[in-house]
């Protein structure tokens, strides 16, 4: 039965191939299970676990049959109508405004670098990448120095005011100022927005733009009808990258303000986990609520991406 043998051998190679390529995903899958799924499960186990009677600490409950939904229910109640609602709304507003500024500032920058920077493109890219070399906290701390009441910014402003003999009272930038916190968020995250957007803009085939112009479109029309639709996923991708960490951010308002006026959602999670003995479960519940919200955003992003790639195929 030589034919059967041959097909058997064929199967063997096919079988091999079937395992070889997915095998490449194995490290990533293991990584995800160990460092994402397991901790994620632990957050659930703590949010719905019990209180250790002696230590008064939240202890994880690994068996889902014993999960207790009280804490997570209370956290939801706090969010809709409680103190937490104010903080959550403020966080939403901060992230929304900061993201909007990132788009308004970041898009032209990315556009310029990808289309107009010419032979200096590498330099512009380098300058955009430079902030990545310095730790986020370090950069924020330098702002704290610059913006403190007797810091450089106020010294310069006072000097300039004295030239024009203006009576100038230097403002206290770090005194719970919404604008400072939002600009802090923009400053911290904008490179992460520009880079993926740059990549998206850079991928746009020059020929499509030329075709648009050849067919009589003005440069504004070309931008709105060709460049913008083709870069929209880059904008969305950049927004996802910056919005997710912004929602959980707590050290930016901590460093740049410290006032109750500017507390963000992340500060509340931090407080329950790091300042309280028994509040670990509440912190975990708040984390889960934030994750659910962020998952909603992610679903929207993934849907628009897949829709776009479908359209591209059609």
């Amino acid at each position: 039965m030589p034919t059967n043998l041959a097909s058997g051998a064929e199967y063997a190679t096919v079988g091999q191939k079937r395992w070889v390529w997915p095998g490449f995903a194995l490290p990533g899958v293991l990584w995800l299970i160990l460092l994402f799924l397991v901790p994620f499960y632990a957050v659930f186990a703590i949010a719905m676990g019990q209180l250790d009677p002696i230590l008064q600490r939240a202890t994880p409950e690994w068996n889902p049959f014993y999960w207790d939904l009280t804490v997570i229910g209370e956290a939801f109640a706090e969010l809709f109508g409680g103190q937490l609602g104010v903080i959550a709304l403020r966080t939403l507003a901060y992230v929304f405004v900061a993201s909007l500024i990132c788009v308004l500032v970041g898009y032209p920058v990315a556009y310029f670098v990808s289309r107009r920077a010419g032979r200096w493109r590498w330099l512009w890219l380098l300058l955009i990448l430079a902030p990545f070399w310095i730790n986020y906290l370090m950069r924020m701390m330098s702002w704290v120095n610059l913006l403190s009441p007797d810091g450089q910014v106020n010294r310069w402003l006072t000097t300039i005011a004295s030239w024009f003999s203006i009576d100038f009272v230097p403002p206290d930038w770090l005194a719970g100022n919404h604008v400072v916190v939002i600009l802090g968020l923009v400053y911290g995250y904008i490179p992460f927005f520009i880079l993926p957007l740059f990549a998206a803009l850079d991928r746009i085939d020059e020929a499509t733009l030329e075709a648009s112009r050849d067919l009589g479109a003005s440069s504004a029309q070309t931008f709105w009808r060709v460049t913008w639709p083709l870069s929209r996923n880059g904008v969305l991708g950049g927004l996802v990258i910056i919005m997710l960490p912004m929602f959980g951010d707590y050290y930016t308002p901590n460093l740049l303000s410290g006032s109750p006026r500017t507390r963000m959602y992340g500060n509340t999670i931090d407080q329950f986990i790091n300042q309280t003995t028994s509040g670990g479960a509440v912190g975990a519940a708040l984390t889960i609520i934030l994750m659910i919200f962020i998952a909603g955003l992610m679903v929207y992003y993934l849907r628009s991406i897949s829709r776009a790639s479908q359209e591209a195929r059609e």
Binding site: P60, I273, N274
Partner: protein, 430 residues
Amino acid sequence: MAYHPRENWIPQNRRRVYTRRDFVQRAALLGIALPVLPSLLAACGDREGQESAELAIGTPASPVQQPLFDDNPAIESGLEPEAGPLLLYNWEDYLNPETIPLAAEALGVDIQVTTFVNEEEALARLSSGEVQFDVWFPTSQRVPVAVAASLIQPLNHDYLSNLQANVWPQLADPYYDQGSRYTVPYVTYTTGIGWRIDLADSADIEGQANPWDVFWNEKYSGVIGMLDSFTDVIPVALFHNGVADPSQATEAELVAAGDALVELIDLVDIRYRIDGSYAGLPEGRYAIHQAWSGDLVNSQYFWPGGEDEGTTRYVWPAKSEGSTTKGAISSDTMTVLKGSERPVLAHAFLNYMLDEANALKNFEYVGYQPPQNGLTSEYLISEEWLLPHLAPALVAPEDFELDSAWVQGPLDAATEAAWVEQWNRANSGG
């Protein structure tokens, strides 16, 4: 018990002008906030095995003895110290780095220090049982819990000759652990008010019947702050409202305290900072800030020009002239962990740290004061360990006996939740 002076710790010999270590630590903590992976490896919790325990919580007025358990005996007398290395579990930068090699040399073993960022983390790791250390440095508030949970072992005083010889009698036989059954004292501190005489009027604080009221003085709008720690802030609001013992505050009193804190947002533009006293005052960011006494001792190293300009003051409202209110006082301890494999060596280390010269060496770096008979404020100032204007930041032995000294016990979960609720109100303002 939530925040502890150590959590914002910046060692003295790193005289950085602008330090925000606390936030770095907290950011780092984000990564390890939920100590889940180790717990996962531990066996799943036994649901039946959990029973509530009575905690022996003492105050200076009614001291308690911690219970002894048959399955947790002290070591025998006359044993030879084990071989090293000795493993310490401590707050970050809570030991003079020079003390470690000196102690290692004196004890003839290697010493390794592992640090924790806050006591929640320490308790989580110790109670999971997956870590092995010999000596742990808990706050006195944690002692009842540590005893009830059998985390620490009773001490054999035969190995601790320096305890009775050198330590203040008030803490050699302390209210939280009568007879020092499980602990020896490490350092001590009060919670009070720090201010700058060039930026604030001392008369608004000193000589007042209730110095805590200064936080509601709108004159200091924008330049006044409190510690970012609800266990320190809620009592201030309660004292401001005339509550005698914050631990016993009723629901209505807590709500009133929350109201008073909400009022601060618009009244004085209050800010909550962990570094507000030791760094914020020297830098001029604040005219007045709530402070732990040890932080004020350390503020002398945080002046932007490097030189303390002598304008910082501290008062512990429990001891302020004319004051009728109270103030918190506390201390930290050294303990031998139950699971220690080197208990004799651990006892030897405790005794080493209770030696006056060694305690002073450690104070030189840590800044928080060891309760040593020989290290009086006169001595510390004359030997230039402390600038004279910061003398009120030192604790005196008899401070623990004042009627106005308030000792905070551990909060049970329900009380803690009630406090946090008011703290959240205070923190979600306009």
